[in-house]
Symmetry: C2
Subunit: 304 residues, 2 copies
Amino acid sequence: MTRFEVLILGNSSATPMYGRHPTAQIVNFNEQLFLIDCGEGTQMQLFRYGIRSNKISHVFISHLHGDHYLGLVGLLSSQHLMGRRADLHLYGPPPLKEILDLQFKHSDTQLRYRLIFHPTRTDGVDVLFETPALKISSFPLRHRIACTGFRFDEGKRAVTLNGDEAERLAIPMSYRKLLKRGIDYVDADGQVHRAIDLTFPAPPSRSYAYCSDTVMTDEYFGAIKGVDLLYHESTFLHDMVDRAKETFHTTSLEAAQVARTVQAKKLLLGHYSARYKDLQPLLDESRTVFTETFLSEEGKWFLV
Amino acid sequence: MTRFEVLILGNSSATPMYGRHPTAQIVNFNEQLFLIDCGEGTQMQLFRYGIRSNKISHVFISHLHGDHYLGLVGLLSSQHLMGRRADLHLYGPPPLKEILDLQFKHSDTQLRYRLIFHPTRTDGVDVLFETPALKISSFPLRHRIACTGFRFDEGKRAVTLNGDEAERLAIPMSYRKLLKRGIDYVDADGQVHRAIDLTFPAPPSRSYAYCSDTVMTDEYFGAIKGVDLLYHESTFLHDMVDRAKETFHTTSLEAAQVARTVQAKKLLLGHYSARYKDLQPLLDESRTVFTETFLSEEGKWFLV
């Protein structure tokens, strides 16, 4: 089965504390690495968790609050110094380009690899990346400044062969691939072996959605409908819902309500406020509404 | 005795590896905190080593290579979020202001404290800060882009009282302060007790100089002459002296030659290249020329 997992590199909101780091995640899809957000210290976190930064091909920045992008110039510069040659695609709010250019100008840096910048939009869902195996889209969130979430949708998955049955009927190897493509096999005696009888149906395609930072609003529910794994920020406990709304953030109870409403299969909390040293209450609160909730923990991989 | 110490927060050159962090140091002078350079992750390092960031009153940035300043926006933003009200003085190359302003603009941040920017100069020694107790100057280094070092000079130190002798002669408390100011004491019998006989001379004033990043050249030797503690970058071992010159850096052997030439009392190496996992060879090489060499280690305080 194609690998499809998320590694948490940072789970802290604005002010990093208690050894927690600002937001960053790696999505590994079939050994292709995608970086979502890049808070300060991301390059050190990648090193700590054994991720080879030069294998990252695409970077997605949700918005221009420092805790979501301040590690980017350092990461890009280190890639340059370490001899990267492969293209790097960067998706983020339009002013990000200006911010990078200004810093590279004053550090007199000419990157030795191609950095291809794709500005994100906040006027609707936008497909950023698409192959038969994977589609990545952005969608608007509602935060104090322009912000998007990202959704990863696996393409149509392959049917699998009923190997035991193929073996029993002594179907030649070269025909087994054809069976998986739906082509029936006719043996030397003229007997037809139907592809549908010799294969298992394709398992459903998997999907991951990333929502940080945002106040809870049904405007983005459509874009994250039915995902297998939903990462949703949960900066506060619900006793601080007023503060959450005021700062355009979400409570852990609200994150659970979102997960239930959009019929996500699993919910991952994160972007914890520095006021919570102990995160268990955030998890407990969310589980009162949505039992399949988990805390994002730095260094931990989550299956989509 | 007035506290005068340097805490190493980061000792790595451009690419942070092996748990080492990019350059940042705290100078504690009499419980006033000065930050020199602010590489990515500095705010987390401050937290790790128990330094209260809101006690930092002045920040000095040597130059605009990312490994010396990319932690600044994060630190300034966190100070803002944590309710800082005290002024913060920032010294650095002129374009630093533009870089900060652009990022604060796009994150829609209006700092709640006063950030007072002082552009540094590279045309000579410049006094940045001066009180009777402490003077801080910048001086030009020679790097690929505009870069300055910083020198901290303690003011004239106080003479100390010979307490035992004062006690023996039963000199009243209120006169002891006067003795330290050089005023003789005349007792009830008219006998003169000379201040000079009842005090120890003031110990020599201490000084610290910070040199990173630079190629070795005698142009800055005058500015760091006779310091008690010299921090000098030593990116490479001397077998890479050509590479050092090409990249405007220094070898550990050269750092030792500088220390010996300017008659520094102690030398602190740092800004180690990512190619050296083991730092002992850098120390050994330097000590062949200058025995009072030490490795800067993260989390370690060095007395000036």
